[in-house]
C-alpha cells in the first residue's frame, strides 16, 4: 500500500462575510483511516465537509486527491467519493428503492443491489413504501444505504449518527470498519464518540476565537 494520502487539504481557509470560520487548516487522510471532525455547533464542520466534497469553494487553500490538485481531476474525484449530507437526499414521495435507483443512475453505485443494501442497513420490508411513511431514523438508514452500494473509496459523512438508535449506530460502525478494512477512507463529522479503534479526530473549536 502506498503512503500517498487519499485526500489531503492544505491551508484551507473559509471566510463568511470576511469573518474567518477557520483558517490555515491542514490535514490528510490515508487509505484505511477514519477522520472525525469535532467541534461545537456553528464552528464550520458542515462547511468543511462541503468544501471537501467540492460543493463549496474555500476562500483559500487547496484539496488534493491522491496527490493531484482536485481542480484538475474533479471528475475522477467525484466518481471516487460518496457524500451523505445533513439532509437525506431522498425524495419523500418516492420509495427507498426508487430513490436508490435514481441515485445509481447518477453516481457509481453498483456494488450490491438496492434491495440488498436496504436489507443490510436494516430496512428489509420497507423497500417499496413511500419515504414519507418512514421515521427519521429509518430515513437516515435509507440514506446510508447509498454507502453499501457505493464503489467510492472516500466517504464524506455529515452527522451520520443523527436520529439513529443504538442498533443503527452499531450497524453504521460495522459498515465503516468494513470500508476501511478494504482500503477506503472516511471523513465524518459528529460530536458523539464513536466506538471505533484508531479513530483520528480534528477539532475545529480552536478556530472559533479569532480576534477582530
Amino acid at each position: 500500500m502506498s503512503s500517498q494520502p487519499l485526500l489531503e487539504f492544505r491551508a484551507l481557509t473559509f471566510e463568511r462575510d470576511d469573518w474567518p470560520l477557520f483558517s490555515d487548516l491542514c490535514g490528510a487522510l490515508k487509505a484505511g483511516e477514519i477522520l472525525q471532525i469535532t467541534g461545537a455547533n456553528g464552528c464550520g464542520k458542515t462547511t468543511l465537509l462541503h468544501i471537501l466534497a467540492t460543493i463549496q469553494a474555500p476562500t483559500a487553500g487547496s484539496l488534493h486527491w491522491q496527490g493531484r490538485d482536485i481542480s484538475r481531476c474533479r471528475q475522477e474525484y467525484l466518481t471516487a467519493m460518496a457524500f451523505v449530507g445533513h439532509q437525506s437526499g431522498l425524495k419523500l414521495s418516492l420509495t427507498p428503492r426508487e430513490n436508490l435507483h435514481w441515485l445509481s443512475q447518477l453516481q457509481p453505485l453498483s456494488r450490491v443491489s438496492s434491495g440488498a443494501a436496504l436489507a443490510r442497513i436494516g430496512l428489509a420490508g420497507f423497500e417499496d413504501v413511500p419515504c414519507y411513511t418512514l421515521s427519521a431514523g429509518q430515513l437516515r438508514r435509507a440514506a446510508l444505504a447509498i454507502l453499501c452500494m457505493s464503489e467510492a473509496k472516500l466517504w464524506l459523512l455529515d452527522e451520520p449518527l443523527t436520529a439513529l438508535d443504538v442498533e443503527g449506530i452499531a450497524d453504521l460502525e460495522a459498515l465503516l470498519l468494513g470500508h476501511v478494512a478494504e482500503g477506503g477512507g472516511v471523513v465524518l463529522s459528529s460530536h458523539q464518540p464513536l466506538a471505533i479503534p484508531a479513530l483520528r479526530t480534528l477539532a475545529l473549536d480552536a478556530m472559533t476565537e479569532v480576534a477582530y
Binding site: 460543493i55 467525484l78 467519493m81 437526499g89 447518477l106 453516481q107
Partner: protein, 226 residues
Amino acid sequence: MTSLGGAFFAVIQRDLSIAMRHRGDLLNPLFFFLIVVTLVPLGISPEPTRLAAMAPGMIWISALLATLLALDNLFQADFADGSLVQLMLSPEPLWLLVLAKIIAHWLVTGLPVVLFSPLLGMILSLPGAGFLPLLLGLALGTAVFSLLGAVGAALTVALHKGSVLLSLLVMPLYVPVLIFGTSAVQRAVDGMNYGGVMAILAAVAAFSLLLAPFAAAGALKVGING
C-alpha cells in the same frame, strides 16, 4: 455503471413520477391561468370585439405568470431534501442534468398551459386564425420561460424569500418573448404573415436552449451556497 443518456433520462423520469404523485400541485398553475383569464372580461368588458382585441396579450401574460408561479419549485424542493447536492456530485456534466430537470419542468408546467390555451382563446373570442400561432408561439415561449427561469431559480435556490425575488429577476428577461409571441397571434388575426415572427421566436428558443443550461448550472454552483 452510469451512462450519459441514462443519467439524463433518469432525472426526467424521476421528476415526472414525482409530479405524477402530486397531481394536485400539477393543476395549480393551470387553474391560476384559467382564473386570471376569467378576470379579464369581469374587469374590462364582456363585449366580444373588445375581448378579441385583448385576447393575445392577455393569454400570453397569464401564461407567463402561470409558469412563473411554478418556477421556484424547479430546484427548491430538491435543495431542501438534499437531493440537489447528490445531483451536483454526479460525475455527469451538470448542465446536462440541469437541462433534464428543465425539460421535466416544462413538461409538467409549460406544456399543460400550451394545451390549455385554445380553450382560453375561445373564452376570450380570439378569431380562428389566431389559434395556431397561439399554440406554436406558446410552445416555444414557455420553453424559453422555463430555460431562462431556471437561471433565476438556480440563483435564488437557497434564499428564504426567493420567489418574489425570482420574479423580479426573470420577468425583464421575458420581455422579447412576450412581444414576439403576442404579435405573432395579432398578425395572424389581422391576416398577415406571421412566419417571420415565429422564426425569431424559434431562434430565441434555440439560443436559450444553447446557453441557459450552462448558465443555470453555473448559477446552481453559486446559488446553493446562499
